[in-house]
């Protein structure tokens, strides 16, 4: 199980992947808004999304786990 973490603090604008969905490295899975800028979060690794730990409108800090991804 791997963890996809937030690289900066911000508000979750949208979640582009669903639990159970297969994702590939480089795929945009989430958008975070920080300092009035929309930043796409791309998966650093592929796999199946096991759990999404955030919700749209929620605030995340740098290092917070956004998703756990299984093999």
């Amino acid at each position: 199980m791997k963890e996809l973490k937030a690289s900066m603090a911000g508000t979750v604008l949208n979640v582009l992947a669903a639990e159970g969905q297969a994702i590939t490295p480089g795929q945009a899975v989430l958008t975070i808004e920080s300092m009035k800028m929309e930043i796409p979060v791309e998966a650093e690794f592929g796999g199946k999304v096991e759990k999404i730990h955030v919700e749209v409108g929620g605030f995340v800090n740098e290092g917070d786990v956004l998703m756990t991804v299984g093999e």
């Binding site: 900066m8 603090a9 920080s34 300092m35 009035k36 800028m37 930043i39």
Partner: protein, 449 residues
């Protein structure tokens, strides 16, 4: 006015407080939970916690802000820039409760906020506008039909848009087809209105704007122009006045056109008429900003005037001086220091561990050492404004200044300034709006940034 409320935060709130203090006007500051420690909060006469950190729950709470204003007995509300400064509904509500909105009337804000409406007004007034659609476009079919007449490349823009949001360059029919729905959706999401329009893309253009001011006695003056062509993500990074490489006769024509634009709507208070100027010095109206702008200190430095004082004077019913009394001296450049990665432009929030500025510049900042730059608001940490007897001196002073700045805790774009201001395209003054992204691209290829 004896007391005003500032419906804004950070640097601009601090800037307004400074002038009010000098004029003996009391100030009421509002702040979110995250901003409680910022200097403007303690520098105001009174301060009120307005709500949680997201702007929609704090700085955009129109009714709550007006309630605070009433409770604290203020006579006027200064909206600063951004946030509610160009919100016609807010301006109207302020006026309805008998307070002074320190800016133009809600009618003017509304008219100029609608880009299609403002284009029509300018055409009627005889101000040149960029060739484009006269009415809003709602279907892709119509957009493709209009695009045939205008020609590619073109800009697809949200009618209610601004600040680079809801604006896309389309090189071909295929690009327009791909982007149309997305721009409409973004326009709806950001501005609550999905009307879009098309404009011809002007290549190698400079973004030059003219500061205007109107009073309630029918006087309208200009305070010359600023070149704002150094941009990233369609947002300004460096502004300067006077605009380099602009023939004097074109400068005069631009200022005259800006006055024509202002007269067309009986403009009052501070406003800016933005133009794009092509490589043949032909210019076109882009939009009118109905507020004080971030880059106003550039104009203040060359004219020696205090634009916030002028705003207060006009709002209080005072008269503007005659045009021929407004003169300029020397050259001023403003650099917007952002908390962002200088290569990727990605935001870099964090604690300002060190914030030490050098000598020789006017610093407008909302922060002090030890403050947090939070992810909730704009990434601008400060504005650095440098004035010289000419452009050469201003650039030389800029180099010296940036070599003596220490900021740690967040990444900033200062390393970029240090390299960029000595680069050929900027130093020569012969640059258009693509100068910064093009220079960054080239520097990356050459590994010099």
């Amino acid at each position: 006015m004896k007391k005003i409320l500032i419906a804004n935060r950070g640097e601009i709130a601090r800037r307004i407080i400074r002038t009010c203090n000098r004029l003996g006007i009391e100030t009421v500051a509002i702040h979110s939970e995250a901003d409680g420690d910022l200097p403007y909060v303690s520098e105001a006469t009174e301060a009120v916690l307005i709500g949680p950190n997201p702007v929609v729950q704090s700085y955009l709470q129109k009714d709550k802000i007006i309630e605070v204003a009433k409770k604290h007995g203020v006579e006027g509300i200064h909206p600063g820039y951004g946030l509610l400064s160009e919100n016609a509904d807010f301006a109207r509500k302020v006026a309805e409760v008998g307070m002074v909105f320190i800016g133009p009337s809600s009618d003017i804000i509304e008219k100029m906020g609608d880009k299609i409406e403002s284009r029509k007004t300018m055409i009627q007034a005889g101000v040149p506008v960029v060739p484009g659609t006269e009415e809003g476009v709602t279907t892709l079919e119509k957009a493709l039909e209009e695009a045939q007449k205008i020609g590619y490349p073109l800009m697809l823009k949200a009618s209610a848009g601004g600040g680079g949001i809801g604006m896309v360059r389309c090189e071909s029919e295929q690009a327009l087809t791909q982007q149309f729905a997305s721009v409409k959706n973004r326009a709806k999401a950001y501005f609550g209105d999905d009307v879009v329009y098309l404009e011809k893309f002007i290549a190698d253009a400079r973004h030059i704007e003219v500061q205007i001011f109107g009073d309630h006695h029918g006087n309208l003056v200009h305070l010359y122009e600023r070149n704002c062509s150094v941009q990233r993500r369609n947002q300004k990074v460096i502004e300067e006045s006077p605009s380099p490489n602009l023939p004097q006769n074109v400068r005069e024509q631009l200022c005259e056109a800006a006055l024509l634009a202002g007269k067309a709507v009986n403009y009052t208070n501070a406003g800016t008429v933005e133009f794009i100027v092509d490589s043949n010095n032909e210019f076109y109206f882009l939009e009118m900003n109905t507020r004080l702008q971030v880059e106003h200190p550039v104009t203040e430095e060359v004219t020696g005037l205090d634009l916030v004082e002028w705003q207060l004077t006009v709002a209080d019913g005072g008269r503007l001086p005659a045009q021929d009394t407004i003169q300029t001296s020397g050259h001023a450049i403003e650099y917007r220091v952002y908390a962002e990665d200088p290569k990727t432009f990605f935001p870099s929030p964090g604690k300002l561990e060190k914030l030490q500025w050098g000598e020789g510049a006017r610093i407008e900042t909302g922060y002090e050492e030890g403050n947090q730059v939070t992810p909730f608001y704009d990434p601008m940490i400060s504005k650095v404004i440098i004035h010289g007897k000419d452009r050469e001196e201003a650039l030389s002073k800029s180099q010296n200044f940036f070599n003596h700045v220490t900021i740690s805790g967040v990444k900033t774009n200062i390393p970029l300034f240090k390299e960029f201001i000595v680069s050929e395209p900027f130093a020569s003054g012969d640059y258009a709006t693509a100068v910064l992204p093009e220079w960054i691209e080239k520097s990356k290829e050459e590994n010099t940034l």
